[in-house]
């Protein structure tokens, strides 16, 4: 499986603080990946390093083919008209599908002659996404694309992106600190926590590979690796990885995506990362 985005030993620091440490990540082509983690986990930094907005202090990050980036707050030139924004994109990019961009904006009912600054937040987001897609990228990165949007606009923005994914071979990486935003759209999960990579993998495999178990404190749990645990009285609830528990006193069920993410974020020392290829067992 070829990688659309590959980071190797990536480390970024601002002055003397490391905001990203030893981050090795491979995002397979054609996936829609969710980049989640609390505020300040390094999500934006990872994306900025990938698009060349900052230079890593250590390691490297590489994008296969063209990358498009929609930064946080979806910056656009507010004094430009929508048509001028398209002209900007056309002149700033090697690849450009003007007709597709114009069609998309027409379908969304966004007038080309309107000044960008006078569009609604949702419309500005659509213009930003349209600009990014018109460059026919191989990898589309969006930093908090749904923040500050009303539910209808969120739905519309996600529809635009997903339709493009259905149409052609496009890899998407989108960040959010709200996991439920990404539940139906993403099939790959990347969890960053305090500058370290904690989880990277296929969402379905991750959910299948984990269990939420509850039971008495003293029951043994063999063959499973505890990701995180919380105790209330003699009762303990755990997120575990690996084989289901044998002791009948345990009750087990599959976790939801949010539970899985929370479980890892609560215990920063746990990690679920694929073995690096080329490293023998």
């Amino acid at each position: 499986m070829s990688a659309a985005l590959e980071a190797t030993g990536l480390g970024v620091r601002y002055r003397r603080t490391w905001v990203l440490r030893d981050c090795s990540l491979s995002l397979p082509t054609g996936r829609v990946a969710a980049l989640v983690g609390p505020n300040g986990a390094g999500k934006t930094t990872l994306m900025h390093a990938a698009v060349g907005l900052l230079r890593p202090a250590l390691g490297s990050v590489r994008v296969a083919g063209e990358a498009a980036f929609v930064a946080q707050d979806k910056p656009l030139y507010e004094s430009f008209t929508v048509a001028e924004m398209l002209a900007f994109g056309r002149r700033m990019n090697r690849r450009w599908d003007d007709a597709a961009a114009a069609d998309r904006l027409a379908a969304l009912g966004i007038p080309l002659r309107r000044k960008v600054g006078r569009l609604s937040g949702g419309q500005q987001a659509q213009v930003a996404v349209t600009l990014a897609l018109a460059g026919l990228p191989d990898l589309l990165m969006l930093d908090e694309p749904l923040a500050n949007l009303d539910p209808l606009a969120r739905h519309d923005v996600m529809r635009s992106i997903m339709a493009e994914v259905a149409e052609r071979r496009l890899t998407v990486l989108l960040s959010s600190h709200v996991v439920s935003d990404l539940e139906e759209t993403c099939d790959w999960l990347v969890v960053l926590n305090a500058g370290r990579l904690q989880v990277s993998g296929d969402i379905e495999e991750l959910l299948d590979g984990h269990l939420v178990v509850t039971g008495p404190d003293d029951a043994p749990i063999a063959g499973a690796q505890v990701v995180s645990a919380s105790r209330t009285g003699r009762q303990v609830g755990m997120l575990v990885r690996g084989a289901p528990p044998l002791d009948p006193r345990w009750q087990a069920r599959s976790p939801g995506l949010e539970e899985l993410v929370m479980g890892y974020l609560r215990s920063p020392d746990s990690a679920a990362l694929p073995k690096l290829t080329g490293v023998g067992a």
Binding site: Y14, R15, T45, H48, V51, G52, L53, L54, R55, E66, A67, A68, F69, A71, Q72, D73, P75, L76, Y77, E78, F80, E84, A87, F88, G89, R91, M92, N93, R94, R95, G135
Partner: protein, 320 residues
């Protein structure tokens, strides 16, 4: 990229062009009017160095007081405005609005984006400065033929030749560098205004050293014949040939002048000249006009290149 540069900076470009056009019309109008006034009022042989022409020059000066005052401020104000509105927003505004994350993540590399912008806008600024210089050079002789002051008057000196272009370029580069430093437009604008003022004052002080001053010894007068020369320093020369700043044991009585009169000083000077003292004057003659122009333009261009390099460096080697 050229279209992008034009679209993003057309407001500044158009306003500057309009300002230059307006100034051109003002200068042309005043010149035409002045020529007509002179043809009606000038005694024969004027304008010229003749004494009779002095009245005419004074009358013209009064008539065009407003034009002159625009003129007086321009050497400082024009570059400050160029730096504040062409330079400071170039990168400062992008950072301020976060649009650098849009502009620098397209196919066009950051380096080329910046190179195109700096070269197009830099060239436009230089062209604007040269146009201003040309207009002023064509306008001034109408009023001042025969009594030039393009060298001695630092304000005029900065408005003619290649200096305006160099000043404008310097202010533009300073604004651009300030924009990367503050990542905001307004403080960058403030820094430009302060920076241009400080630089102008510094270069004014420094200009004495652009060349070894010429020396001449006067007797009978302390006033240099050439009105357009730049005075550097002066000293008294004793009959023995020794230069002193203040002849103390000359035996000439020195009384303090009261009010506006300088009768006592003149009497003291006459006494010194009578005793064989001479007055040594160190100065730069107007013939050094181009040497000074190119020296100043050279300093400013080098500084512009350094500031531009600083802006490029901090843009390309961004920590975040």
């Amino acid at each position: 990229m050229i279209w992008v540069t034009w679209r993003q900076h057309r407001a500044q470009i158009l306003v500057t062009a309009a300002f230059l056009a307006l100034l051109g019309m003002l200068l042309l109008g005043s010149a035409v009017e002045a020529i007509r006034y002179m043809s009606e009022h000038a005694p024969p042989g004027c304008p010229g160095p003749a004494v009779a022409c002095g009245d005419l020059a004074a009358a013209l000066g009064r008539r065009y007081d407003a034009v002159y005052s625009v003129f007086g401020w321009m050497p400082l104000v024009a570059p400050a405005l160029i730096g504040a509105f062409w330079g400071a927003p170039l990168l400062g505004r992008e950072y301020e609005r976060g649009t650098h994350r849009l502009a620098w993540t397209q196919s066009v590399p950051v380096g080329r984006w910046l190179a195109v912008k700096l070269s197009i806008l830099g060239a436009a600024v230089v062209a604007g400065g040269l146009l201003l210089s040309l207009m002023v050079s064509l306008w001034r002789p109408v009023f001042r033929s025969g009594a030039d002051s393009t060298f001695g008057n630092i304000g005029v000196f900065n408005m003619v030749g290649v200096d305006p272009a160099a000043w404008w370029l310097y202010a533009f580069a300073l604004g651009t560098a300030a924009g990367t430093l503050f990542r905001r437009t307004l403080p960058a604008m403030a820094l430009v205004v302060a920076g241009v003022a400080v630089t102008m004052f510094t270069l004014f002080r420094l200009s004495d050293y652009y060349a070894e001053p010429a020396r001449t010894e006067l007797s009978g007068s302390v006033v240099l014949d050439d009105q357009d020369a730049r005075l550097v320093s002066a000293a008294w020369v004793e009959p023995s040939g020794r230069e002193v700043a203040d002849p103390s044991d000359s035996g000439c009585p020195r009384r303090v002048d009261a009010g506006q009169s300088n009768r006592n000083t003149e009497a003291w000077q006459a006494c010194l000249f009578g005793k064989g003292y001479r007055y040594a004057v160190y100065y730069h003659p107007p013939a050094r006009f181009w040497r000074f122009q190119w020296t100043e333009a050279g300093i400013l261009t080098l500084a512009s290149a350094a500031l531009g390099g600083l802006a490029v460096r901090s843009t390309l080697r961004r920590p975040g």
